[in-house]
């Protein structure tokens, strides 16, 4: 799987590299996070208790309400934000919030992106090119599956 490329139908932001945190679950800053501590806090979330700081967060779909649009900006101001957000399906709030916060965002792949990227793998995102992509650089997770 090393150097496997996955192309996104929708993308914004700048190129980054980082470790993936992957789960088959949704994302909402208000519903799911303790934004002060930088961890998932909703007990039912697959990633409950885990830190998202400095991680490329790869999840299924945007959930919940409109608050995330302001919250991503506030989280970025304290450097308590994921490195990037990758979703199977984004909603307008994620795009609006990512645009305001300067957070790289990708969605709409031709596969279930949470199934093909193992949690902990090193990935590269390039949203700013004509054909935006997510590249799996190194999978040193020994086949550990993504969560959920």
């Amino acid at each position: 799987m090393r150097d496997a490329m996955f192309y996104a139908g929708c993308a914004m932001g700048h190129k980054i590299q980082g470790r993936a945190l992957v789960a088959k679950d949704g994302f909402s800053a208000r519903y799911d996070l303790d934004r002060i501590k930088g961890v998932f806090s909703r007990p039912e979330h697959v990633l409950a208790g885990q830190s998202y700081l400095g991680r490329v967060l790869i999840l299924d779909a945007a959930k919940g309400g409109v608050a995330t649009a302001w919250m991503l900006f506030e989280m970025a101001s304290r450097s308590m934000i994921p490195l990037a957000l990758v979703l199977n399906r984004a909603n307008p709030i994620m795009a609006q919030g990512a645009a305001h916060a300067g957070l790289p965002l990708m969605s709409d792949f031709d596969c279930d992106i949470t199934s093909v990227i193992p949690s902990g793998a090193l990935v590269e995102l390039e949203p700013s090119v004509e054909r935006p992509y997510l590249k799996l650089l190194r999978d040193d997770t020994n086949g550990a599956p993504s969560l959920g």
Binding site: C10, A11, M12, G26, R30, Y31, D32, L33, S41, R42, P43, E44, A61, A62, K63, G64, G65, V66, A67, T68, A69, W70, M71, F73, E74, A76, S77, R78, R89, A90, N91, P92, I93, A95, Q96, G97, A99, H100, L105
Partner: protein
């Protein structure tokens, strides 16, 4: 994206740095969703509670106050969503001064742009409901889903920054539910029961939202035996939006775009079909009805209560006394009516508290829990029950009558 001369002028900075930010933000979002142009809007509605804004967001708004009036004034009527406090009741909630001060600063910043501080998520019941086919830029998922589905107006979820941008430019990127093609149903849900209570409508909305699954799904629901009232639609939509991020639903033969079954007849038979019955409702209630045996407070909120709901709470409390906090939260438009009609006095004589202009979950709910020792909460709002777990509460969904029984029994369920 195709831009008009006016939009190009804003992008070039001719209309000042704030409008330049606004149109550039809209273009970035519009491009993400492959919008080809922007559409003129009639109104904007901004979510701007400071629990979401944080200090960074408040300072970001304040930075524009020094601009000339012509450069910072909104171009369409613009109103606000509930705030993070009731300015008259913050001490009773044990909210701290910095929270209230942050809300005051936000008020000053937004008013300097000509924004009307309505502080409500039920503007479709109280302010100026948009018309069928009208394009608007609304924040608050409950407002958007009601506006799209019940009124037949057109809006995407517009988060605070984007609704503010739309207010400043008078337009919004034309994608999602501004496009007719996106408003067609994508799944068909047949219900074999028709809820009888607000929490029941919320539960049905929650299950519909979960089945729909995401923003781009449009559920068509059939099988309802009567037309739900405005408050029932409110709870149904708010829950569908909360549990599923859904922004538009159709009720067969009821909502304006599904008034005639033939509207969708070409495609309905080919849609994925699901059934919801009494057992599903019971399973949902089991999941959100579990408690540790005692709740610390009862909250009626999310969405804010209509005058009719306030009257129902007052009637149910007649001759009784609550033994744990009971909060009934409404809009600044409804509250004076409730005061004038004696409803507030009746609720407060029974030991309850009527609040206005806020909503429970966006009012520093975590801090209020710590300050007041609140851990478990009962509500008839499926939306609130869904959200509040993330703030550390153990929530229970009950009917309005059951909530009041629990409050009068000292929290015993």
């Amino acid at each position: 994206m195709k831009l008009t001369d006016e939009e190009r002028a804003m992008l070039s900075g001719e209309c000042g740095p704030l409008r330049h930010w606004a149109i550039a933000h809209q273009i970035q979002v519009g491009r993400y969703f492959h919008a080809t142009d922007l559409v003129q809007i009639a109104q904007a509605h901004i979510m701007c509670d400071t629990e979401s804004l944080g200090e960074a967001g408040v300072q970001w708004l304040e930075r524009w106050m020094g601009l000339p009036d012509a450069q910072r004034r909104v171009r369409v009527p613009t109103i606000t969503d509930p705030r993070g406090t009731d300015f008259f009741a913050a001490p009773r909630l044990k909210q701290e001064n910095w929270m209230v001060e942050r809300e005051r600063r936000t008020t000053v910043a937004l008013e300097s742009c000509g924004i009307l501080m309505t502080n409500t998520c039920i503007n479709y019941q109280t302010i100026m409901p948009p018309l069928l086919g009208e394009h608007v830029a609304y924040g608050d998922t409950g407002v958007v889903i009601y506006t799209n589905s019940v009124l037949g107006a057109r809006s995407n979820f517009e988060g605070g920054p984007s609704a503010f941008a739309a207010a400043l430019t008078g337009c919004t990127p034309r994608y999602g539910y501004h496009l007719e093609a996106r408003r067609q149903p994508t799944l068909h849900i047949v219900t074999t029961f028709t809820p009888q209570s607000l929490d029941g409508w919320g539960a049905l909305g929650a299950m519909v939202g979960k089945l729909a699954g995401d923003y781009w799904s449009v559920p068509l629901v059939s099988g309802l035996e009567r037309i739900p009232g405005s408050d029932e639609m409110k709870h149904f939509g708010a829950a569908a939006a909360s549990f599923g991020s859904v922004a538009l639903f159709h009720l067969s033969g009821i909502t304006p775009e599904a008034k005639l079954a033939r509207d969708f007849s070409a495609s309905v038979s080919s849609l994925p079909q699901f059934r919801l019955g009494g057992r599903d409702l019971e399973a949902f209630r089991q999941r959100y009805g579990q408690t540790t045996g005692k709740v610390d407070l009862v909250v009626f909120s999310a969405p804010q209560l209509s005058i009719v709901e306030i009257q129902q709470v007052a009637d149910l409390l007649a001759g009784r006394q609550v033994k744990i906090p009971l909060l009934a939260i409404t809009s600044p438009q409804v509250k004076p009516d409730a005061d004038r009609m004696g409803l507030t006095a009746r609720i407060e004589a029974a030991g309850g508290t009527v609040l206005a202009g806020m909503c429970f979950y966006n009012s520093y709910a975590r801090e209020m829990a710590e300050a007041n020792g609140w851990k478990s909460l009962a509500s008839n709002s499926a939306k609130l029950v869904n959200i509040i777990g993330g703030y550390g509460y153990s929530p229970t969904l009950l009917s309005m009558e059951q909530c009041i029984d629990v409050a009068c029994a000292g929290g015993s369920v």
